[in-house]
């Protein structure tokens, strides 16, 4: 496994990678969700490139960029074990030199939900992903369904800008109790960790209500809200039931619908989602 830290080195190495090339961009601190993406990339491509880059431009000024968990040595060992061929691990200065000032902005689908809660977040995501795609030139790139809106934004960008690759979505990987795997779960203390399962429980409730014939999104959201509010450390940021492609909010569930939510458990903001229909 080769570890590459500069754009120039990756670009000069790229022509020697046998195609197709699968790419898994990450912010590191890898969990089973990331490793499932690597395994899928490994199964579907001749070469596998992963990146580890905690992208400063997708964090707001009061968010957790500085304390975002990092453990590159452990990450590299895990990636090697999964048969990764190349790991791209640039510095922030390498990706954003001082005069950097070009941005990819995806409209409407990037403005709601996480985009509304975290202004500038998806501009940072779209820009770094566009850069990584140009640097790595993959045939396929793999993203987890757990960040559902991110996936929608990246698919939209790739389609609108005619990028030459396939965006592959992989199912959310969950802990035994249903909590979606996330590097941010490490922020949770034991009591918070227990209560964090309520995100999954609320999504499961939504699915159950839908399968029982409930189509009124207000009624579904009300029951999800009541369930979450039973957890004393949980504070709802949003609960959304939206068209799974446009992210337009729905009054009546019309499948495929994306049920997504953001909830603070103590100081930690968690997101999760499920597609119904």
């Amino acid at each position: 496994m080769k570890v590459v830290e500069t754009i120039a080195d990756l670009k000069s190495l790229r022509p020697r990678l046998a195609e197709p090339v699968g790419f898994v961009p990450t912010m590191g601190y890898l969990h089973q969700g990331h490793l499932a993406l690597v395994r899928q990339a490994r199964a579907e491509n001749v070469s596998v490139v992963a990146s580890i880059f905690v992208n400063p431009t997708q964090f707001g000024p009061h968010e957790d960029f500085a304390r975002y968990p990092r453990d590159p040595q452990r990450d590299l060992a895990l990636l090697e074990k999964e048969g990764t061929d190349v790991v791209f691990m640039p510095s922030a200065d390498e990706m954003y030199p001082p005069q950097f000032n070009s941005w990819v902005e995806v409209g409407k689908v990037a403005e709601r939900l996480e985009g509304a809660a975290r202004p500038g977040h998806f501009r940072g995501v779209a820009t770094v992903v566009a850069k990584l795609f140009n640097i790595v030139q993959p045939d396929r790139a793999y993203f987890g369904q757990k960040d559902a809106q991110q996936l929608i934004v990246i698919k939209k960008m790739a389609s609108d800008l005619d990028m030459n690759l396939e965006i592959v979505a992989a199912p959310t990987v969950r802990e035994a109790d249903g909590l979606a795997m996330s590097s941010r779960n490490t922020y949770l203390n034991p009591e918070e960790r227990k209560q964090a399962v309520v995100l999954y429980q609320a999504l499961t409730l939504a699915q159950k209500l839908w399968s029982q014939g409930e189509k009124d999104t207000k009624a579904i959201r009300r029951q999800m809200t009541a369930l979450i509010q039973k957890q004393p450390l949980a504070k709802i940021d949003y609960i959304s039931i939206a068209d799974a492609e446009t992210l337009d909010e729905l009054d009546t569930v019309r499948p495929p619908a994306l049920v997504s939510l953001a909830v603070r458990i103590g100081k930690t903001r968690l997101i999760d989602n499920v597609v119904v229909g």
Copy 2:
């Protein structure tokens, strides 16, 4: 010479083009400036792709999109004569389907001069050029120095977003009296055409003043202004003397400096520039 109208057709044809591929993006109504770009692309590459696309997103709502001159049959004959291999000639709907909403924005260098006079112009330029680069996947792309700020914006975008190609600048091609070639020159009536040479005369004056030791940009701009104002149909939009890379306005000429101007001759807005030092 192949003429291709859809993105899918160009992408499927692209692997059969021998490399390196040189690309000349145009809005059609070709003049000798465009043809000089094609000739240079022809000399420096194994395959040459040109595009003809009057890009709606780079025109403001009160600009000349609808009446921009078009003559595709003449353009195709000229491109064939120069040995172009492929012409990409998409419709506006092909490039911008109804839900299109992803944009490339280049910061500071896109906000001044033409960017200030034409809000949204460079967002449209950067976005369509990023799309065309992804569709054509050229090794080199050719742009005229006549649109100096466009060249700076595209170079900045390509560099910031790590695009895999070389941006090649070619000198402005001029009429016998010095007027820079432009598809918009066709708007000029005979009297306007005569007076339009004042843009070139003002730039020549700036060069002369600089070579005589004048470094005060205010003094140079004052003399350029006086010269232009002698033409009764000319109305100055801006005269700029700026750092040729950052476009920061200069008090004292520090080479390389970009002397650029926009002048209305009657109803037609013309631009031109020269680099001093």
